[in-house]
């Protein structure tokens, strides 16, 4: 799952060049993802992992780094 998420971000937002992006770095602060990219990311997570991202889930604690996203998705899957 970690690889899938990371690969998706690198492919879509960094044009295939990871440029040393670490898994704990803030995607917002590093300019990797903007508000439209956020919509795209949410769409991807819902489709790829079959989870439902609620409005209240859309907070940086859940989505702002590769690690956060993995934890968030794992949490969602565990609840299902």
């Amino acid at each position: 799952m970690h690889t899938t998420i990371r690969q998706y971000i690198v492919d879509n937002f960094l044009f295939g060049r990871a440029n040393g992006l670490s898994d704990s770095e803030s995607l917002l602060e590093q300019g990797v993802i903007d508000s439209i990219g956020l919509l795209e990311l949410i769409g991807f997570l819902q489709k790829r992992f079959g989870i439902r991202v609620a409005d209240e889930d859309i907070i940086p604690a859940n989505l702002d780094s590769v690690d956060c996203i993995r934890n968030f998705v794992e949490g969602k899957l565990a609840c299902n």
Partner: protein, 804 residues
């Protein structure tokens, strides 16, 4: 190789070629070489030995050039001081570097301790070289630069440092022996100095002038000498553009270089028009390593604010606060690595240690610039700001301390502090805040006069204000920032009459002289921006040379058409109404858009209204989330979070509207030989709130540098109808009415103005928060959103890329 080898080698290869032109003097390489040799022998006789410093206090001229090479040939270290240097500073430099002597044509001030003096004209010695005394790791030059302690510090440069820099620069400029360089920059400024060094490296001709003061003489010299390379700074570009450049032709000119500040985009187009086919290099450098980067000329339109990706034979990268190297796309301190990096500051181990730090190899030192940059995805660097108090006034680096020391020396001054103020030409200018002693009776002019007697002109504050109290930091020290209370909405105040006059003048010049069109087309939306542009165009060109276009479509608010008409009629301009609904329908604007909406709300159809709105969230670290707000025919409302696909589908289809309007504006512009005026204000232009090739396209954008509140004050000055002046900014894009704030910014326009202004002028989040009535956390969030939008705007503003 040693630096003096540049001259010796060219004198061997091209003895009879003109090396140097100064006024009516023309010297061949052999003549310069022989004069330098004669002076070198005189210096040696006078006791100059390997490693001795010799200060040169001369205006640009043959003697200055001969002195540089003579000192090197004698094994010495040259140190050029600004011809306008004040006696006190000259004395400081001479004693600081323990100069062996001084070469000058002027009377030496009494205050300077006895030292040997030469005139640079000594011609008694042998014309043969005195023989090599140095190796390339010996010092060649000391270049004094402003220091944070208030005292100038001497940048120690070896032969290797300077030869390396000269080689890199001449490589990317593609210099050849038939290049003719015109240099009117002082040789005490490394940018000026290197013009001579590099010219002699490739065996070209250097035309040396004392200054740019007589602009027409500079232009005539460019033509007469068939100059191929012309180094300037942005303020000189502005001076050149004041001239009627159509009178001159420069067929030989190959390139113009500029450094010291980002090249103003407003100058760029005009400079291009005046110098067709000439390559323009925008560059960035530090005295500590001479040059850091240049922007390849073909990138100037793509990323005009970038300084490029470095230069040949060096490495640059960004580091975080712990000195760890950052990947592209990040922001951090710029580090420079290469054999052009200085050896340190003369006799200042602590200041040296602060900037020269261990590099990747054992014993290697790399240069920490103190400048904060960011990079884009392709590795281009963008200047963000300074990590310390330094002020960049054009190409000059200024530390407040030096000026504050002078202010404190004025008997009437109790306390003084200096900080940067924004300056349209120089990037920054110097502002002094002064608290006078009780009972002191002086004017700000007296303070400026006091400074001008003691400081070089670029160090004299541009503005002085008297305050009862000066801002202090938490620890009680003077703060080099305007105090929290002082950053307020009034920072955005303008003299509307003066701004209007200047814009009218600009529009006239742009339309008639640059674009060579007969008038302008302005799309009137009934909003304040387009109304102000139309009013300015009328005052600038006359009402008979302005065509207003009103282009409603089926989603437009009826107010838009009504107010657009009202403005056109008040201004007395011809106007046409072009209903673009049929074009949009035929192009599928509405059907494609509605289909995207239906992907979220399947029952969406006739009778429904909708808009895209940002979900308000005041949390500092919250995201901006876009929602679709729809109103059914029965007036019930629904709000759904947008998906990426729906968002893109709606936006792409809706962009037809602005693109269609632009198409019609150009239709009328073509028919009437008019230019098209765009109407973005600074918020929209800076943040990229326009449709590429839609409202983003235009031939001129008169108000793109004005904050929204400034546009409102212009509207008042221009007597636009109250209804237009008092109307809040709307988007008029979606069927449901909407303010710009709901779609573009998470804050109202006046707050956005403050945040944008504060961010651009280095105000702390606390200060902006105070002025805007927000929390610091909210301001920091807006600051971050501004950066995000700016990154997106790069694409929107980029012109088509050409393959070489």
């Amino acid at each position: 190789m040693q630096l003096d080898g540049f001259l010796e080698s060219s004198a061997r290869k091209f003895p009879g070629k003109t090396a140097l032109v100064c006024g009516d003097q023309r010297l061949t390489y052999l003549q310069v070489e022989e004069r330098a040799n004669r002076l070198a022998h005189a210096l040696l006789t006078g006791g100059v030995a390997r490693g001795d410093r010799v200060v040169v206090w001369l205006e640009n001229g043959v003697e200055a050039v001969v002195s540089i090479f003579a000192i090197l040939k004698a094994g010495g270290v040259f140190c050029l001081v600004n011809p306008g240097v004040k006696p006190e500073k000259l004395g400081y430099i001479i004693s600081n570097c323990r100069a062996k002597g001084l070469i000058t044509g002027q009377a030496v001030p009494d205050s300077i301790r006895q030292c040997a003096v030469w005139s640079g004209k000594e011609d008694g010695g042998s014309p043969r070289p005195p023989g090599n005394r140095c190796i390339d790791v010996d010092l060649a030059a000391l270049i004094y630069t402003s220091g944070s302690t208030g005292k100038p510090k001497g940048v120690m440069l070896t032969h290797l440092n300077m030869v390396t820099a000269a080689n890199s620069i001449t490589t990317y400029l593609e210099n050849r022996a038939d290049d003719v360089i015109l240099n009117a920059l002082p040789l005490s400024f490394d940018y000026g100095l290197y013009q001579v060094l590099m010219g002699f490296l490739f065996g070209g001709t250097v035309v040396l002038m004392k200054s740019f003061a007589l602009t027409y003489v500079v232009l005539e010299t460019l033509m007469r000498e068939q100059v191929t390379g012309f180094p300037i700074v942005p303020s000189v570009a502005a001076m050149l553009l004041e001239m009627d450049l159509a009178r001159y032709r420069f067929p030989a000119l190959r390139y113009i270089t500029s450094t010291g500040a980002v090249f103003p985009q407003s100058h760029l187009a005009r400079l291009r028009a005046a110098f067709p086919g000439v390559r323009i290099y925008s560059m960035y450098g530090l005295t500590e390593c001479k040059r850091v980067s240049y922007l390849p000329p073909d990138q100037l339109d793509v990323r005009p604010t970038s300084v490029g990706r470095g230069m040949p034979n060096q490495e640059i990268y960004l580091v975080d606060e712990e000195g760890r190297r950052l990947a592209p796309g990040r922001q951090g301190q710029l580090v420079v690595r290469g054999s052009h990096v200085m050896k340190g500051y003369w006799d200042s181990p602590e200041e040296t240690e602060a900037v020269l730090k261990p590099g990747p190899l054992p014993d290697e030192k790399v240069l920490y610039s103190g400048d904060v940059f960011r990079t884009d995805e392709e590795g281009y660097f963008y200047f963000v700001g300074r990590g310390d108090d330094m002020i960049k006034v054009g190409a000059h680096r200024v530390y407040p301390r030096e000026i504050e020391d002078v202010l404190h020396a004025m008997p009437e001054v109790a306390e003084a502090v200096v900080w940067p103020a924004p300056d349209p030409l120089l990037g920054q200018s110097i502002h002094a805040a002064v608290r006078l002693k009780e009972g002191a009776r002086v004017t700000p002019q007296d303070v400026l006069f006091f400074c001008s007697k003691r400081l070089e002109s670029y160090l004299v504050p541009k503005t002085v204000e008297f305050r009862e109290e000066l801002p202090k930091t938490a620890t009680g020290k003077l703060s080099r920032r305007p105090s929290p209370g002082s950053f307020s909405r009034s920072a955005l105040d303008i003299d509307a009459a003066a701004v209007a006059r200047s814009l009218e003048e600009t529009i006239r010049r742009q339309v008639r002289d640059q674009l060579r069109r007969r008038g302008v087309v302005v799309g009137l939306s009934g909003g304040v921006d387009s109304s102000v542009v139309a009013a300015l165009a009328v005052r600038s060109l006359g009402k008979e040379r302005v065509l207003g276009l009103l282009m409603p479509e089926s989603d437009s608010s009826p107010d838009s058409l009504r107010l657009g008409r009202l403005v056109a009629e008040q201004l007395g301009v011809e106007y046409r109404v072009e209903d673009i609904t049929p074009i949009l329908t035929a192009a599928g604007c509405y059907s494609r858009r509605d289909e995207a909406v239906r992907s979220l709300i399947p029952e969406f159809g006739p009778g429904w209204l909708f808009k895209i709105a940002m979900q308000e969230s005041p949390e500092e670290d919250s995201y901006v989330v876009y929602n679709l707000l729809a109103r059914a025919p029965d007036l019930t409302e629904r709000q759904v979070r947008l998906t990426y696909e729906a968002f893109q589908g709606i936006v792409a289809a809706t962009s037809f509207k602005q693109r269609t309007r632009k198409m019609l504006e150009y239709y009328w512009a073509d028919r009437m030989r008019y230019a098209v005026a765009g109407t973005p204000n600074r918020q929209e232009y800076d943040q990229g709130f326009f449709v590429k090739n839609g409202d983003g396209a235009a031939d001129l954008k008169p108000i793109a540098r004005l904050y929204k509140s400034q546009v409102y004050s212009l509207a008042e000055h221009l007597n636009l109808p109250d209804e237009v002046r008092l109307r809040p900014p709307t988007t008029d894009t979606y069927p449901l009415s909407q303010t710009q704030g709901e779609l573009f910014f998470s804050v109202p326009w006046d707050v956005m103005d403050l945040c944008l202004f504060g961010k651009d002028h280095g105000a702390a989040a606390e200060e902006v928060a105070d002025a805007a009535g927000m929390t610091c956390a909210q301001v920091r969030r807006v600051f971050r959103l501004i950066d995000t939008q700016r990154r997106a705007a790069l694409y929107l503003r980029a012109e088509p890329l050409l393959a070489e």
